[in-house]
Every structure is written in C-alpha cells, then in structure tokens.
C-alpha cells in the first residue's frame, strides 16, 4: 500500500475548493447573523430626517432611534399606551397646560451639550404654524414656556386633549437640538446635526441599508441590541423570500401573503396579524349628476356585500368597519345603519328614484387588494342592476383626481375606493371629511355644517364619553348622507424570528429601540 502523502498545487486547490463548497452548504455558515444586531426591512429609503420636513416611513423609524420625544407609544396591539420617554415627569396641569421635566443626562452628540427645555420649545414652535406637513399636530399650541434647563410648560390656545397622542410621542414630537439646527441654517435633510437617542446614525448605503449603533452616552433604558441594520427592499415578495433566506429578522408582508405564509410557515418564524390604522372606504360622490339622489346612493350601500369583500380581498383577516374611528377603541361606533346586504331593497330604491340602466365609473388604485375589492363591488352592484366600470388608476394620477387645483374633473367623480393611514385620535381620521376638504381629500362632496361643528367640539372636549357621542354622531352623518361605505381597517401582517419580540406602533412602523430578545 502506498502511504506516501503527495501534495501538489492542483490537489491543494481541489481540496480547498471542496472544503469551501462543503462548508457553504451548511445552513447559516455562508451567511451568519450577528445575534447582537437587529435586522429589519423597510420598503423605501429615507428622505428627510428633519422632523419638520420629514415624510414618514423610514425617516420616522430612524428618528425613534436617534432622537427623543417627551413621551412614546407602546405596541399598538396593546392599546397604544403612552409612557414617559425623554420626559422624567410630564402631566396635564390644566386643560390648557402640560408641565414637563426632561430626564437628567440626555446629551446631544457633536458637543452640543445637554438636551434642554429650550430645545423642546424650539422643536415644537418651529413646526407650529409653519408650512410643515405636521403643523396640524401643533395647531392648538400657543407656546412653550421654559422654566429652567430641564423643565417647561406647554401652553395651548384651547383645550386640546389629542395633543398627547397626536403630537408628543412621534413625528413632529421628536426633539431637535436648537443650537445644532441653527448652525446648519434652520433645517436639514439627510445628515442629522445632533442626536441624543439610544442609537446613533452610523452609515447610509443609499437604497440598500441604514446602520445604527448604540449611543455610548445614552443613560436610559438599554436596548437588547447594540446595532440595528435596516434593509431597504421595495418589493414585498422579494422581502418575504429574503426573510426566508435569513437576510433579516423582521419584515412587514403583503396582506395577500397571509394564506401562503400560514400554509408553509418558515422554521423559527412567527407571524403577526393585527389591525392597522389604515382605513378603507368607498366614496360615493353626491355631486355627480348620476348620484345626486340620496336613494341611488343608498341603493349602492344596500347592494354592497361587506362579507364578500372581507373574505375576497382580505382573506377574512379583518372585520367590517362601522366608521373611520378605529374599532376596538373607546370612541368606535358599534355598527353601521345599513349593516346587512339587501339587494331587493337596493332595486326598490333605484326604481323609486326612477333610475334604469345606471352605469357608474369606479376609480381604484392598481394594487391587487384594491382591484379585488373593485371587482367584488362591480359584481355586487351588478346584481342590483348597476353596471360598474372599473378604472384602475396609478398612484400619481389617482391623487390628482379629487384635487380642485387640477381642473373640474373632481366634481364628476362617481365611485372611488380610498384608503388612508389613520391616527390614534378620532379627529385625525375624521379630518378629511370636513367641508373645507372638498376638492382636496373629501371627494364625496359630503358637506355638513353639523359635522364641522361636531369636529370643532371634538377637538376641545375633554370628557371621553362626550367625545364618543360626538364622533359616533359624525359617523352617523357620514353614513346617512349615502356618500360612504365603510369597508374595514386593513390588516397588518408581519413576520419575525420567534426569538424576537417586536414592537409595532400605531402607524404600522416598528420601534426598533423597544424590540426585545426572548
């Protein structure tokens, strides 16, 4: 037997190649994940990190990590409870004042010193009354009074209870460093002039990845992770595959993926099924000549099959909405006046109105869920003798449809499927149906003075029971006008590693600083 060990270049290369190939077949060997790094996926890159001009999405997620707000939200699945965050102490001292004291030890990066009450004043007052998209959050803000370095009082023009949930915990509520912002000319875009949160912005690989690292100067509650990587993956299906390939630990999924994921759940993964704040409805334009008769609009409401839409478009993951106020909250209306389908009643109403061969145009966005809803409505209304022609419309063209500055087309819209991302306070969701929104986002021409009066009352009313009555009445008015069919609050679907406990806020975006290892 020849026992001589022969080695030459070719053999060595073969051996090395074979070993490498072998190692790479071992799962997780080729692409190991660092246990101390939290990897999230989001669908679009950042745009503007200045709270005054930011758009939302990734911008907001980053600011949750790098900045502080006086208070912050807990998980939306646990009722959107608020808790102190940048504030050590914060409380209503009267219907018009909120007193706060900042936590000791909060420190800006880049040598800008401690976070002060002056920074809070600057952060809020620069948004209030400005052209910022978040100015509405501080509509009732009068001023912020600085008591000392860490304490101040928020003064309101009128009692405005929703400021607690609309303004303080996120978006416009993020605190920026006055000295740093002034140094860069009063506003900034993608480079944070100073940070003070539990994580620091480390690296931006455009359209690919954002890396955040733990802030060494952070003296508050430590995160379970020392690094956060946020991957930008536009396509939901690609993101789902990438999750299965262990590219990240958490991603939101398309609603249409629910069935498939449930049928073949990836190993070690957990699915989140929740109700989002995004509400969907059918707009029926009363200004359209064909829909000016209330009986015709009601016929549509009766012909609509809510169950079919929920099953067909949402896989039964959500329930019928009775308004635009989030179901399950203290302010939600219990049920619709027209809650069950009645095709015969619809036909009778059309006959009573003297309408025959009614043909309507239904505008719907091009995404698969909206198109499915449109097709079901087309079929529903068809049974009542109404012919519906679906007009799939791309995003940019869609948003111009109801805009009065783009011509008169908004006056003759007929049916439009709409959905908006909602807020926590009912006023945030009811806002769009006010008379002054006609030609902006009120595409149904619903024009009710009583609705407007109630809206104003709802803003300043302090008593929750009275607010519920106000909001419920507003939704009654909406439904009774025949201008709306409330479809649902869309389901929220996400997948994550089962050794992770994610925290999702009311806007549907995660708060990475609150994620826990389990």
């Amino acid at each position: 037997m020849n026992t001589q060990w022969k080695t030459n270049r070719r053999e060595l290369l073969k051996l090395a190649g074979g070993t490498l190939a072998g190692l790479m077949t071992v799962p997780n060997m080729a692409w190991s994940a660092d246990g101390d790094t939290l990897r999230l996926r989001i669908d679009a890159d950042l745009q503007v990190l200045d709270p005054k001009s930011m758009i939302g999405g990734l911008d907001e997620i980053i600011l949750r990590c790098t900045q502080i707000s006086l208070i912050r939200f807990g998980d939306t699945r646990e009722g959107n409870k608020t808790m102190n965050w940048g504030a050590e102490k914060i409380e209503w001292t009267s219907p018009l004042t909120i007193a706060f004291t900042l936590r000791d030890g909060l420190k800006w990066t880049n040598g800008f010193g401690p976070v002060t009450a002056e920074d809070v004043k600057f952060s809020y007052e620069r948004i209030a009354g400005s052209d910022s998209a978040w100015a509405y959050q501080f509509e009732k803000l009068d001023h912020v009074e600085v008591i000392d370095a860490r304490s101040g009082i928020i003064h309101l023009k009128q009692p405005f209870k929703p400021i607690w949930v609309i303004s303080l915990p996120y978006y416009g509520g993020h605190i920026v460093c006055k000295a740093a912002v002034e140094k860069v000319g009063g506003s900034y875009t993608t480079e944070l002039p100073a940070q003070c949160g539990p994580f620091l912005f480390d690296k931006w690989e455009q359209n690919q990845k954002i890396t955040l690292i733990a802030n060494p100067d952070w003296n508050g509650e430590k995160s379970d992770f020392s690094k956060i990587e946020i991957y930008i993956v536009q396509d939901d299906q690609a993101a789902q595959l990438a999750y299965e390939a262990d590219a990240f630990d958490f991603t939101r999924l398309a609603v249409s993926a629910a069935k498939q994921v449930k049928a073949a759940m990836p190993k070690g993964a957990k699915l989140i099924e929740a109700q989002s704040t995004r509400y969907a409805w059918l707009t029926i334009n009363m200004n359209s000549p064909q829909l000016s008769d209330l009986r015709v609009r009601q016929a549509i409401q009766y012909a609509y099959d809510g169950d079919a839409v929920l099953q067909g478009a949402y896989d039964g993951l959500t329930v019928r909405a009775a308004g635009v106020v989030q179901p399950g909250t203290n302010f939600a209306r219990e049920k619709n006046h027209i809650a069950t389908r009645d095709v015969e009643k619809a036909k009778a109403l059309l006959a009573e109105a003297g309408i025959k061969d009614l043909k309507l145009n239904l505008v719907a966005l091009t995404d698969s869920t909206t198109q499915t809803i449109a097709q079901i409505i087309q079929s529903n209304l068809g049974e009542a003798g109404i012919t519906v022609e679906i007009q799939p419309t791309e995003d940019a063209a869609y948003w111009a449809l109801g805009d009065k500055t783009k011509g008169d087309a908004y006056k003759t819209l007929e049916l439009v499927l709409m959905n908006f991302a909602g807020g926590i306070d009912p006023t945030e969701n009811l806002l769009w149906f006010r008379p002054d929104q006609i030609g902006i986002y009120n595409w149904s021409f619903f024009d009710s003075k009583e609705f407007e009066d109630l809206y104003q009352q709802g803003l300043v009313e302090q008593d929750d029971a009275k607010r519920k009555t106000i909001f419920n009445r507003m939704e009654d008015l909406m439904e009774d006008s025949g201008c709306f069919i409330f479809i649902c609050f869309e389901p929220y679907l996400a997948i994550h590693d089962d050794n992770l406990q994610p925290v999702i806020l009311a806007d549907g975006h995660p708060n990475p600083t609150m994620f826990k290892k389990v």
Partner: protein, 316 residues
Amino acid sequence: MLTYAIKRSLLALLILFVVMLAMYAMVFLVPGDPASIALGPRATPELKQQLIERMGLDQPILSQVYHFFYNAVTGDLGYDVWSKRPVLAEILEAFPYTFLLGVVALAWALILGVFLGCAAVIYRGTPMDRILGILSVSMISVPSFVVAIYALLIFAVWLRWLPAIGAGEIGDPWSQFKAIIMPAFAVGISWVGYLARMVRASMLEVMGANHIRTARAFGLSERRVVFKHALRVAIIPTISIVAVGFGSILSSAVFVETVFSRPGIGTLITSAVLKRNYPVVMGTVLVMTAFYLIVVTLADLLIARLDPRVRDVLRS
C-alpha cells in the same frame, strides 16, 4: 474614418437631445400630481406648491428643457428634491454597482455564449446541435426577473449559499463577490442564448471561407479550425451586438436590482420615479442614455477599424 467618427458622435448627441425632450414631454403628459404622491395626504397646499417650484415644474416646458441642458453641459444635473444632494453625486455613487453588474453579466454571458456557439458549429447537424439550439432559445425566452426569483429561491432560501439581498459589505470583496453571482446570472442568462445563436450563425458563414478550407487542407483539427481561425472572424458582428446588449442589460438591471435590493442605477431610478423625484429621473436618464450612446458609438468605431469590409466602404 475621422469624418465617420464625427458623424457618429453628432448623431449620438442628437439622439440624446431627442430622448431628453421625450422625457420632458412624458413628465407633462403623464397625469398625476407629483407633490401629493411625494408628500402624502397631510401636506398643505403651500408645501405642495413649494415642492413643485423646487422641482421647477411651474416653469414652461421649453424653459425647463433649456435650463436642464444648459446646466448639464456644466456638469450640474440639479439637486435631489428630498435629500438636496447633487443628482450627479447620487448617480456616481450608484453607477459603479450597475456597471459592475453589467460587465460581470456580459462577461460570463460572452464566455459561455461563444463557447456554446462554437460547440454548436463543431457538432452541427447532430442531436447535440439541436439540444444546444433548444437550450439557447430557452435562455433567450426566460425573463430575467423570473430567473432572479428562482435563483433567489434555490440558492438563497433553500441552499442558503448566497445572500438574498444587497451588494455585500463595503471593503469585503468576498461578500461582494457572493452578492453579485445571482444578479449577474439573472441578467446575463438570456444573453448566453442570444450570443450562442449569433456566434453559431456567424461562424457557419465563415466556415465556408477560403482560409478555413486552407486550414482544413493543412490537416488541422476541427476544434482548432473553429476556435483559432473561424472564431477570430466570426466574433466581429458580436461586438456590435454586445454593445447593444449592454443597453439591454442595463434595463434588465432595473428589475434585478429591485428583486435583489441591490443598489444601482435601477434602484435609484425606480425609487425616483415612485417618489416623482424628477431631477433624479432626468439626470439618471441623461447619464444612462449618454453612457449607452458612448458604448454603441465606440462599438461602431471599433467595427469600422476591425472589419476590412466596413473600412473599405468608409474609404470609398
């Protein structure tokens, strides 16, 4: 030759101008409100107006076109509406990723395509030739995004050999190499088939030439005749196809970069279109069209230099 080069360059400039005019026309013709899309429903009308002014969309179209070209000549492609960074800087950051993807995809497609084309000639008329024909047409027919998704499923999800997304870590060539394998495979695969068919057809024409007959008469093997003598001539038409192919590969990159979440021009332009970030859209289209025209013009000039038949036509 010089006159030809000047003519080709002027034609390229004209094409570039027409493309940009078409782009501007599209911005105006396509219905929609870029400000509402970009800013969302909570934006105030004042904020929307500001954005429209920032994008220059409130100006007459001819004025926009004039300013765009005037600035472009000085290397100023404007600023990203959101990040306010120079568009040129964003393009220069993204371009190397797409360029590398295109080069790697084309390189492997060229090597394999030429090899399969030559093999088809060597085995012409045999079942192997027919198998190679079927294989080539199949590769041409499959869209790159389908290949991308299946490659992702097999190599990233099931086998976990390759990363599913990204372009690898900066400063880590090994991770960058692994990250480019699947995208380059997806982008290049249809070109393997296309080049194989092209080389085969071109080669069969050359195989009847006198110098090939002479080579055979000297008793050279068929492989040596094909690879050493016929390929040298048959490869010339492939150069222009490769140049055109580079443009096609860049457009495939748009899909593939999206599927693999790979940074690059495709991802940049897709997100810019979705956000109606017109300065970035315009700048990217200008740079990519210019790049494509340069490649095609250079290929034409190279053919004119290499192919004696073209050279003779130009001389006459």
